[in-house]
């Protein structure tokens, strides 16, 4: 059902306008950010008959602010903008690497961080595990006000978040950490990754891991933390071989999703190698 004035497509000019338009459409409406996921709906044999509210022209949603303690990323910031803005920040390396390696340059110029988070059927989204490992949070805006939640919580509730609410911005805390994003596509580039490991760690002055966050993407339908592995990394120095051995021990935590590009068992099997490469990448960030 289109909006009350019959529109099937509305280009919102402000956040208030977007939320009002979404509320007007109710369950028959949806926000449209970069559109790269929704435009492919027919190829997935999905319907594309909602009334769309385009949000990519809203200035506030296109802002990326690097503040002293956090980075505020508007929902419509593209992968290309993320890569160019965050590439020089060591504490955000995982997110910059995720952004610069996803899809291909022409898609990265359009696809947004908000779209990557909201495409609930897209298991291979690169930005999601990177944001999880960096302890990012989201701000959701709606007619009744805003709500802040972790990425983990958002992934749990995103399909039922309500038609009149949208992701306003992503907040990444700035802390003295090292991070890396390691992905395995079947081709060198331009392909969806079979599996993703995003790793962030803080080290004490002697090089011992004080805290660790490991997030795994593309293996299961939804990206998530690998908490057993995180615990096993804390209290030890960065050792790629040991980390891979620990990953091998805990691989049973995952049930790989089947797909035309790779069977489920293969996605799980490659995890120790990706963990080893992630720890190696952190070692090199001295």
């Amino acid at each position: 059902m289109p909006g009350q004035n019959g529109e099937r497509f509305h280009a919102a000019t402000s956040l208030t306008d977007a939320i009002a338009a979404l509320a007007d459409r109710g369950s028959a409406g949806a926000a449209l950010a970069g559109a790269t996921w929704i435009m492919r709906a027919p190829l997935r044999h999905e319907r594309r008959d909602l009334s769309y509210v385009a949000i990519s022209k809203i200035d506030e949603l296109r802002r990326l602010d690097i503040l002293d303690r956090e980075i505020s990323i508007g929902a419509c910031v593209t992968h290309a903008e993320l890569a160019s803005s965050l590439g020089s920040l060591p504490e955000c390396r995982a997110l910059a690497q995720a952004a610069v390696n996803s899809a291909n340059p022409a898609v990265r110029n359009v696809a947004t961080i908000g779209g990557n988070l909201c495409a609930s059927a897209f298991a291979a989204a690169d930005l999601v595990p990177a944001l999880i490992c960096l302890d990012a949070e989201l701000e959701i805006e709606g007619a009744k006000g805003s709500e802040r939640m972790t990425v983990k919580r958002f992934l749990e509730v995103r399909t039922g978040i309500g038609p009149d609410r949208l992701v306003r911005r992503v907040i990444v805390p700035r802390t003295a950490r090292r991070s890396a994003h390691i992905r395995l596509p079947l081709r060198k580039a331009g392909d969806y990754p079979v599996a993703i490991v995003s790793l962030a760690a803080t080290l004490n002055p002697t090089g011992v891991v004080e805290s660790a966050r490991v997030a795994v993407g593309s293996v299961e339908p939804v990206a998530r933390r690998w908490e057993q592995l995180e615990t096993s990394l804390v209290g030890h120095s960065l050792d790629p071989r040991r980390a891979a051995e620990q990953a091998e021990r805990f691989c049973g935590d995952f049930l790989g999703r089947e797909g035309v590009e790779a069977p489920g068992w293969y996605r799980v099997k490659v995890l120790p190698s990706l963990v080893r490469r992630a720890v190696l990448a952190l070692q090199e960030q001295s």
Binding site: N104, A106, N109, G190
Partner: protein
């Protein structure tokens, strides 16, 4: 409902549905058939055009999101009848085979060389990861692009 956009410097109006892929409007309504339709999922790059100077895959861009923006297609590269330096060197190296991927490759490299005029071979290959050539003529076109970079 009509939507206004600027295509190759000309004001244009389309009456297509706002979710119509831009590539279909360019080809079917404006008869600019340089951008090719192949995969329709952003993988092959054959439909690449510039929007506000940035290369994008026009199969994934709905018309409604281009309103008021500037679109440039491969037809704009030799608008005055004279080939661009990139087009000339591709011709010199006899790069074109079937021509399906070629317009997209020209649009990607035109944008890329604007920012990286002296790019190395590896950088050129990275820039082209989103362009698939079904004739597999990659090396010859990369050779041509390298030659252009060396002339800069």
């Amino acid at each position: 409902m009509s939507l206004r956009l600027v295509v190759n410097g000309e004001d244009r109006v389309s009456r297509a549905e706002p979710l119509t892929p831009l590539v279909d409007v360019l080809r079917d309504e404006f008869h600019l058939t340089g951008a090719k339709v192949a995969c329709r999922e952003g993988f092959c790059g054959a439909c690449t055009v510039h929007i506000d100077g940035q290369p994008v895959v026009s199969c994934l861009v709905p018309l409604g999101m281009v309103e008021g923006r500037e679109v440039r297609t491969v037809e704009s590269l030799a608008a005055a009848g004279e080939l661009s330096p990139l087009q000339r060197i591709m011709e010199e190296h006899d790069v074109v085979q079937c021509g399906m991927c070629f317009p997209g490759i020209l649009m990607v490299l035109t944008s890329f060389f604007r920012e990286h005029p002296r790019a190395e071979r590896g950088e050129i290959k990275v820039a082209l990861v989103g362009n698939i050539c079904r004739c597999t003529g990659y090396e010859r076109l990369v050779d041509a692009a390298v030659a252009l970079a060396k002339r800069s």
